[in-house]
């Protein structure tokens, strides 16, 4: 189980290969990559800056992974989240979950992403033609996170 906050880019291929080689009981690896879009709320975005709360961010992600492990079969888990200045088509976040079976891998991966969006201390600032603005929290993300409290496995 690994959590990394970094300014550098990451390679989902290298990360899943490393996970795979370590454990021949892995049958399924679900991954998610979040990418900077060139549009948000109707405005062209030329750049964004991501800020985090060192130590609390890592700790909260470790707790989220712990919840996923308690709920699903998780053989290995990796979260990499970038901070600093990013441009459209840049990768922002990577979640990789390895499991014996695909149902567990998908569910745990989506669960971790939903919580990352709503609970992990990251803040996004976008640069548009109108200037820079902090992104407001989206209601849709809270709904996505909340459904895990209602849904059984």
């Amino acid at each position: 189980m690994t959590v990394r906050i970094q300014t550098e880019d990451f390679d989902v291929g290298a990360e899943t290969a490393a996970m795979r080689k370590d454990n021949p009981s892995i049958g399924a690896i679900a991954s998610f990559v979040g990418v900077v879009r060139d549009m948000n709320e109707g405005d062209a975005v030329s750049e964004m800056t991501l800020e985090h709360y060192p130590r609390m961010t890592e700790r909260s992600i470790e707790q989220i992974i712990g919840q996923a492990r308690a709920r699903w079969n998780v053989i290995d888990a990796l979260v990499v989240h970038r901070v600093g200045v990013l441009k459209p088509t840049d990768q922002i976040v990577l979640v990789v979950i390895a499991s014996a079976h695909r149902g567990d891998a998908f569910a745990a991966c989506e669960f971790v992403m939903d919580y990352l969006k709503t609970q992990a201390p990251f803040w996004k600032k976008e640069r548009t033609r109108q200037g820079s603005r902090w992104v407001d929290a989206r209601g849709a993300d809270d709904v996505a996170a909340e459904r895990w409290q209602l849904k059984g496995r």
């Binding site: 800020e51 709360y53 609390m56 700790r59 969006k117 992990a120 201390p121 990251f122 600032k125």
Partner: protein, 84 residues
């Protein structure tokens, strides 16, 4: 003394990322600390008065109005998160 940290929009609006604060004797929880900061007026009142626009953590755990605040704690104020 407590360490108080500010992030993102709050850090910019308040013009500071962190401060060391002598805890007033009357302050025993997060609500009290926030009230003391709002009492500074200006940007402090504006940014910290509306609690639905502000989240807080005590010692790096998400906290609510009644979370105790003690000498030596690290308290952070920040907007709702927008990660991923």
């Amino acid at each position: 003394m407590v360490t108080v940290l500010y992030f993102a929009r709050l850090r910019e609006a308040l013009g500071t990322a962190s401060e060391q604060l002598a805890l007033p004797e009357s302050v025993i929880d997060l609500a009290g600390l926030r009230q003391a900061l709002v009492g500074r007026g200006g940007a402090w009142a504006q940014e910290l008065a509306e609690m639905n626009r502000v989240r807080a953590a005590v010692n790096q755990e998400m906290a609510s109005a009644d979370t105790p605040v003690n000498d030596g704690d690290e308290v952070a104020f920040f907007p709702p998160v927008t990660g991923g």
